[in-house]
Each structure stands twice: as C-alpha cells, then as structure tokens.
C-alpha cells in the first residue's frame, strides 16, 4: 500500500465513509490512487467541484450545515490562499466540521515555481479563528491525524507533503494527545520542526550524535492549538531552534516565540530557520532551493554547531 500521506489519509476516510453515508469527500480536480478507489466504490459520497476551490469550500459549508462530515481536497496553495474568505466566512464563522486537505506544502512543487509553492500558509491560516492546523511528518502520523478527524469532527487544516517520506514512527506508535512528540532527548539545545523539514533536522541530528553532541528534537504535529505542555517542556532549554519551509514572518518560529513570550519566558536564545523573503524562480529543484535558503541538513547542522 502507498506510503504517500494523501493515500494513507484517504484510505482511512474511505473505510470510515463506507460505514457512514454522511461522509462526503470533495476534490477540486486533484487525484490520488486511494481517491480512485473512493470514487469508484463510493460515488454517492464523492463530489468533483470543478477546479473551483472557492465554490468547493462554500459547498462544503452547505453540506456540513445539513449534518454531513465533509473533507475537501486540493493542491495546497489553491485550497488555502485562493479561498481564504470562503474558509473564514463559510467554515470558520459557522465553526463547521470540515477537514481541509492541502497537498504539496512548502516547496513541494518546486519545479512549478512560486504559484505552486506554499511558503506562507502557517502565518495566514493561523489567524483564522476556530481552525486547527496539523502537519504530519510521515505516513504513521498522517494516519493518526486522519483518525482524529473521524473521532472528533471539527474544522481542521491538514498540511500534507507531496512526496513520499520515510516513516519517522513505527506503525504501532502511540501518539500523545498534545500534538507533539519528543523524538530525541538532548541537553541544552532543542530543535523544533515538522513535516518535510523534520527529516532534514533528523539528518543533522544523526551527524551530531556521531560527534556525541546531544540535542532534543521535537516533531510539532499540531501547530494550532499549540500545546502548552510543549511550551513548558522547551522552556527548560538554553537554546531553541525552529526549522521550517516557510518565510519567517508569522511562521512557525514566530508562533513558538510568541507562545514562550505569553508564558513569560523571554531570556532564551532563539534561532528561527526558514525561507528567504523572496519568490524563487530558479531551476534546480527543492533540495537546491533549500540549500540556497540555508535549510539543507548540512546548514542545519552548522547552525546547531555555531549557536
């Protein structure tokens, strides 16, 4: 079975939808092998909205208001920024149980250029009231989030990776309910990341371990709400580093700093790594662009060594 986040998620929803006729899955002309199965076997619960993300969100509101549990699915930049007002007015203001599935976050579509990048959605979506935000880092955490959407229907924005990622967690891993996992235990330095970039951090961590440098690594799966336990936990460290595939204005790093500040913690040393404040038009692909932005595992390693 595919290990792609989108297939893992849709397969979970497929099993749920088979047993529950009130589950609807809407796609704005975005596909997946798992969706092919859904469309074929549950045609009455699948809806093609056309390449009309704004309409898709409004229609999802109507379906949800009528008592249905709705999933909307499209390429990440178009299901977030393009229909921001629909998300606010039709979903968030009425606080409806709709799950927004955004595939290809960060520089996932690097070769397509900045129209297809999503380098600012954490900042923007974080400001939407009633909306929870998650970023799974592998197939196992994706499955966990899919289960959460079934158990506790509410308005959620799920940021999914375009590419196949190696599993960070074992298949029977038991996730804690706070929305974060401490993957490695270190001493003075903690590093926080999520999604695709967590894998870069883990590569840097491996190299540091070989040099007997111990750092803590956190996978922040849920960035809204941000766990107060996480903030309490990281406040013990002398140095805190965040790594993300987003521009830094209002991004994940600033969420962490803001949360620490609200908790009255301000004397720590912070370093927020993210994309440069520019639109990349260069060829070279995702890894090249990450390197340009100081976000390769090598750069992350150097940052940690020098902090």
């Amino acid at each position: 079975m595919s290990n792609f986040q989108r297939d893992v998620f849709i397969n979970e929803i497929y099993d749920y939808a088979k047993e529950n006729r009130n589950v609807f899955f809407i796609s704005a002309d975005f596909g997946a092998p798992a969706l092919d199965k859904f469309r074929k076997n549950l045609p009455n619960q699948f809806i093609h909205s056309g390449i009309s993300e704004q309409h898709m969100i409004d229609m999802a509101a109507g379906l949800a208001l009528d008592g249905n549990h709705v999933y909307v699915y499209a390429m990440a930049p178009f299901i977030s920024l393009r229909c921001l007002e629909q998300i606010k007015c039709s979903l968030a203001m009425m606080n409806l149980p709709v799950t927004i599935l955004a595939v290809g976050v960060g520089l996932g579509y690097a070769d397509a250029g900045p129209t297809h990048y999503l380098n600012e959605d954490i900042s923007i979506m974080n400001s939407i009231v009633n909306l929870d935000i998650s970023s799974p880092s592998d197939a196992i955490s994706t499955r966990f989030i899919a289960e959460q959407t079934i158990k506790v229907p509410k308005l959620r924005y799920i940021r999914m990776e375009r590419n196949n990622l190696e599993n960070v967690y074992s298949s029977n891993f038991s996730f804690n309910k706070n929305g974060f996992e401490k993957i490695h235990q270190g001493e003075n330095i903690c590093i926080l990341s999520y999604g695709y970039m967590l894998h870069k951090v883990l590569e840097a961590h491996e190299r540091l371990s070989r040099e007997n440098i111990k750092i803590s690594v956190y996978d922040v799966i849920s960035m809204k709400p941000l766990s107060s336990e996480l903030i309490k936990d990281i406040s013990k460290y002398e140095k805190i580093i965040t790594v993300e595939e987003q521009t830094l204005n209002g991004g994940f790093g600033s969420l962490i700093i803001n949360a620490l500040s609200i908790s009255g913690i301000s004397s720590k040393k912070f370093k927020c790594l993210g994309l440069k404040e520019e639109y990349y038009f260069q060829n070279g692909g995702r890894e090249f662009l990450l390197e340009e932005s100081g976000l390769s595992s090598e750069s992350i390693y150097n940052t940690i060594k020098n902090i």
Partner: protein, 276 residues
C-alpha cells in the same frame, strides 16, 4: 397552499415593510434599499405556500432552506420568523438592544437563519451544498436563495452556477433581486450585467422573469417551477430599490441608512401605511 388570498398577502407586505422601516429607524443603521426591494419575494415564499416550514419549529429537519445571500438584507426575515413563532415577538421590539438575539446581518445563532451571510457571493455555493445533500439523501427539501444582482460580479457565483447545472440541482431555486442599483449607481452604468437572462440560461438554468413586486406573478411563477425537472432555477425579479418609501426609491445613497428629519420619518410612515 397556506394562503392564496392576494389582498391578505399585500397587507402582509405592507406590514413587513413597515416593521422593517421601524427596526431600521430604531438603530439608525442598516440597508433599507435592499431590504425593501425584496419584501414581496419573502412574503410570497412564507405566506404564499411556496417554502415549506413548520410553525414554532425553526430546526425541523423537513423544512426548506433559505439563504439571503445578500446578507445585509437578511433582517427582512426577522419579522416573518417572529410571526411564525421561531422566536418571541419581543425580539423585534428590542431590535438593536444589547440583549436582543437579532443582529444587523443574519447568522446561524438566530433561529431560522440557515446560513451566516454578509460577504457577497457565498450563498449560491452553500446552497449547492444544501441541495446536493438533499439529492444524495433522497429528501424533498428545497433550497431558496435570495441573490442580489450585485453578487453576479463575484466570480464564485459562476463557479457555483456551473456546478448546480452539471448536477441537475432542480431543488435549488434562486431569486435574483434585480433592483438595478449598487452603491455607486445603476449596474448598467457602473459595469454592465445585462443580458442577465442570457447569462443564466447559458449556464444551464431555467430562467423566469417577473415583476418582483407582484405577489400574483411571483406565486404563479414559483408554482410553475415545480414542473421543471433536472434544472436549477432562477427567477429574475425586477424590483425597485427602497420600494415603498418615495425618497428612498431608486436612490443609490439609500443603500445604507441616512439621518432622517422628523418630517421625513412622518412621510415614510404615511407612505407605508397608505401605499398599495
């Protein structure tokens, strides 16, 4: 049919217009132009036997849905909702007071309001969700949407029109309140919308055009729509913005409330009790 006595319905229209004016006057804000142009549409729906509802039961699962997509005019429903027992009549008297459940714009915390509205261009999409839900579950519920022609400028309306048509949502009935005026003037001077009928027909809708202040025409047209299968429907209701108060009629500046002298208040009250 609940009530086909046209004289009664015309009296209901007078009552609704007058009640809306007094509510607006009490808060000295709101959107009289758009609220007054849709009065006969709402009266036909609720008192002409068109929309299915259950007195005192705003959440009855078998009731038809209504969305005033031009959310600034949603308060036109409040007196009707109080009248059919969705909430107490004191809410109308208390309009604008801090403990009143009614707001300038409709939202789903108000019994009877099926969808929060306010920003233009969302109602048709949400309505598609209602209509599709009913279709897929084989229920008889219809969805009525009051759209302002000004919303035809929003691209999302046409996304939803494509969808409604492709999915043969014949349980979706749009009423276009064609009062011609947007904030800066006549639509045809600002940015032309015509030919409106051709546009909706080309999107696959069944289109009817009526005098939006004629209860007889409205009810006849609504009743005939039931015969049309497999197509979404739109009634272009030609109306007068600010209808019923002469100094507001067709005046773009009465899109929003303006200060009124005692003389003009008297004039408006007099016209609302004697006109038509």
């Amino acid at each position: 049919m609940a009530n086909t006595n046209i004289k009664d319905l015309e009296n209901k229209s007078k009552w609704l217009r007058k009640t809306c004016f007094e509510m607006l006057l009490s808060v000295k804000q709101g959107h009289p132009g758009s609220i007054l142009s849709q009065i006969e549409i709402l009266v036909s729906l609720y008192y002409g036997g068109i929309i299915k509802f259950f007195k005192n039961e705003p959440f009855h699962p078998e009731k038809d849905k209504i969305i005033i997509s031009k959310g600034h005019a949603a308060m036109g429903l409040y007196p009707i909702f109080a009248d059919i027992g969705y909430f107490g009549k004191k809410e109308i008297e208390n309009f604008g007071k801090s403990d009143c459940i009614l707001k300038l714009f409709g939202n789903i915390s108000i019994p009877g309001i099926d969808c929060t509205s306010g920003s233009l261009g969302h109602g048709l999409g949400v309505g598609c969700g209602f209509a599709l839900s009913a279709k897929r579950k084989n229920t008889k519920n219809k969805t009525f949407i009051v759209l302002s022609e000004g919303e035809m400028y929003e691209g999302s309306i046409w996304e939803s029109a494509l969808f409604a048509s492709h999915n043969s949502l014949d349980n979706l009935i749009v009423i276009l309140d064609r009062n011609r005026n947007i904030i800066l003037g006549d639509t045809e001077d600002c940015l032309a919308l015509e030919p409106i009928k051709d546009k909706w027909m080309s999107f696959g809708f069944h289109v009817e055009t009526v005098d939006g202040h004629s209860i007889v025409d409205l009810i006849d047209t609504f009743n005939n729509l039931d015969k049309i299968k497999n197509k979404s429907k739109i009634i272009i209701a030609n109306t007068t913005k600010g209808k019923g108060i002469s100094f507001m009629e067709n005046k773009p500046n009465w899109h929003y409330w303006n200060p009124l002298s005692e003389d003009l208040i008297k004039k408006a009250r007099s016209e609302l009790s004697t006109n038509e």
